[in-house]
């Protein structure tokens, strides 16, 4: 069914190229209306915000190694900032992403995070381990003008490879299981739907437009808290759109980008396994919606090697109840492309995508 829709979409796009932005917005709205919602207070392994390697040529292996720092130090009720929180959260993540294009249309990405979650209040608690690994199967639905316009869709799974049973690192409290949002893993299988649209601006070829939408359907961890609780993180929808500009400074090559990201997270749900209340209930003070702005700079060290630095700042947050919410996020890392067949370097779109990571 989806393929039929995509084929119709493709035909329409070819005939109505100038209407692309309207069409894209429409597709985003359709996705948004289908989504239901994740919680903030989870320090937040930044999986969704980092998914998706750039489009690449066939038989090309792409790799990125990035470090991501997510600081949650702001206490909010709804849209109102209370003050800096007594309990501060940080997530440090080293992410290895591998992508390989088997054909012109099919590629696969793997996302392997190593996560460190910390909570600082009157004592300090941390966990660190491999997080949940994500595998994404991507299909290039539409490619026009030698990849100047590309629409890619993907389906993936997040596997419960991360530990979800860490106990406190505080002396004397070693027997106490830490809360779900401090665990490196979720203990559940998630389904991920992802789409990306890139388009080189015709009248200004060094500039490109990009958008992404991600929907994560959360699975259930039925043995959290030593089997006492069943826990389900809230579903999540994210959409991002922005522009990228390539700039030459002498012999140096840079890609600058500015994107805006909307994130809607639904409340976490839970039930107590021995309780007479058998249905899931929403956990208070979880869920909400955020808008972030994300400036980014990529420096091309070599034609197939780049370094990227970007910062994510919340410009709007409307959260459920009172929560510790993101203050800022830093992300930096290398991207490397290894072609197994000789090919042309650096098509505009893949540079665009990389700069938007």
């Amino acid at each position: 069914m989806k393929l039929v829709i995509f084929e119709i979409l493709k035909m329409y796009l070819v005939k109505n190229f100038t209407k692309l932005p309207i069409l894209l917005l429409g597709s985003i709205l359709i996705l948004a209306s289908k989504s239901i919602a994740q919680t903030c207070c989870s320090g937040g392994v930044p999986t969704s915000a980092n998914l998706g390697m750039p489009t690449s040529a066939v038989n090309t292996l792409q790799m990125s190694l990035t470090y991501d720092f997510n600081k949650l130090n702001t206490l909010k009720t709804g849209t109102k900032k209370e003050q800096n929180a007594e309990s501060k959260r940080q997530t440090h993540t080293v992410m290895l992403q591998l992508g390989y294009a088997f054909t012109k249309r099919f590629s696969v990405d793997a996302f392997i995070p190593y996560v460190r979650q910390t909570r600082t209040s009157s004592n300090f608690v941390s966990t660190s381990n491999i997080g949940d690994v994500v595998v994404l199967l991507k299909y290039k639905i539409l490619s026009l003008n030698h990849d100047a316009t590309v629409l890619t869709g993907a389906f993936g799974v997040k596997t419960p490879t991360g530990r979800d049973d860490y106990t406190s690192s505080v002396s004397g409290l070693e027997d106490i299981t830490l809360s779900a949002d401090l665990q490196p893993g979720s203990g559940a299988w998630d389904l991920i739907f992802w789409e990306q649209f890139t388009h080189v601006i015709g009248f200004h070829p060094s500039m490109s437009f990009i958008s992404q939408a991600t929907y994560t359907h959360r699975g259930i961890n039925d043995s959290f808290d030593n089997g006492q609780r069943t826990y389900k993180f809230g579903r999540e929808f994210q959409v991002m759109a922005g522009l990228s500009e390539r700039v030459n400074v002498g012999k140096l090559l840079f890609d600058g980008a500015l994107t805006v990201r909307y994130r809607k997270a639904y409340a976490d749900r839970f039930k107590i396994n021995q309780s007479q209340v058998k249905k899931f209930n929403e956990l208070p003070n979880t869920g909400g919606q955020w808008i972030f702005i994300n400036p980014s700079l990529t420096y091309w060290i070599l034609p197939d090697l780049s370094y990227n630095f970007n910062i994510t700042l919340p410009i709007f947050a409307d959260i459920t109840g009172t929560q510790v919410t993101p203050t800022y996020r830093l992300n930096m890392g290398f991207f490397y492309r290894l072609p197994f067949k000789k090919q042309k370097h650096s098509s505009p779109d893949n540079i665009i995508n990389n700069s938007m990571q």
Binding site: S126, D175, T177, F270
Partner: protein, 382 residues
Amino acid sequence: MKSLMLKTSAILLFGALLFSGCSSSDSDTTPGGIDPQVNNGSGGTTTPPSSAAWLIPTNCVADGGPGKDGIPSIDNPKFSTDPNANALSFLTNDNLLVAGIKVGSDIRAYPYSVLNWHEITNDIVGNKPLGIIYCPLTGTVLAWDRNVNGSVTEFGVSGLLFNNNIIPYDRNSNSNWSQMLLKSVNGSLKGTEITTHPMLETSWGTWKAMFPGSKILNAVTGFNRPYGVYPYINGAGQDYRESPWLLFQNCTNDTRRPVKERVLGITAANGNTKVYTFDNFPGSNFTAIEDNFEGEDYVIVGSKGRNLIVAFNRKQPDGRLLSFDAVQGELPVILKDNEGNKWTVFGEPAEGGSLARLASPAISYMGYFFAFGSFFQNLEIR
């Protein structure tokens, strides 16, 4: 070019180093300390502590999420005496609950609207250093003597819960305590019992009517919190106080009464506990009932309409056993004994004189039914 590569590598390496820094892994005579009569829900057998470090089974201890002092205690409380003061503007409804205390002539109330966000208030009432310990998840409030082992301490919120009930910690020894067990359950003071001072729980409307000039804990707490907002309503609009769900696992569940029904619990010296529901005290008039529990004679007086239940021992220090009737329309006077004396909600003689204050039960406080059911085996219900 190479130097740039080196710089960028250094930045990434710095990130990795940051990462690698982590490791994986007046009549305050109430005796304190109750043995944990918790069980595993499979028939009432007592579960031994699962760790030598704890007096309670750690599988029923939960990390609430905010961490130690993530919910900040109020250590410099401020009070207003005018009920219409701006600093009390969060008291928008006469049905909101407050906890009240009287030490000597010092009468204070602690609105749950504030306690919901702080749980603990370190205060001095009538020259007594007291910790007002409130748990929003079990609906229980107790005044703890902060004089522990000969020195005055402060209590803070550990961020841990046992059977959904707050685990305070004391800042002198860093030991963890159980509010409802009234003893330290972890740390260097493990096993040490706490002394409590009688408190009552009622509605803001009833309190105002009883003690119009009393001191009310106000919003000048040193923290910026939305005191007019109840923090345990979920995104679906379900209010924890009125919903059957709990946030964390209990060691045992007692299903004989509604989970969040507010009851008065009386715990005898041997730890056995009996709860009294508002069904015994219908309407707006006060009703007094006399009861014998674990060899002690009590009078329990309450009014559902006034949102108040309190209990006292009937036996006087000289051995006389008094009989009581409820008094109407004379708040804070609620009882009259068979000798013609009238008594207030704090068990004090209404007309002063040389009469001693009525003794309170060993331990009595209001709370949600499930809390008493999860802490006390063989719980009696009236």
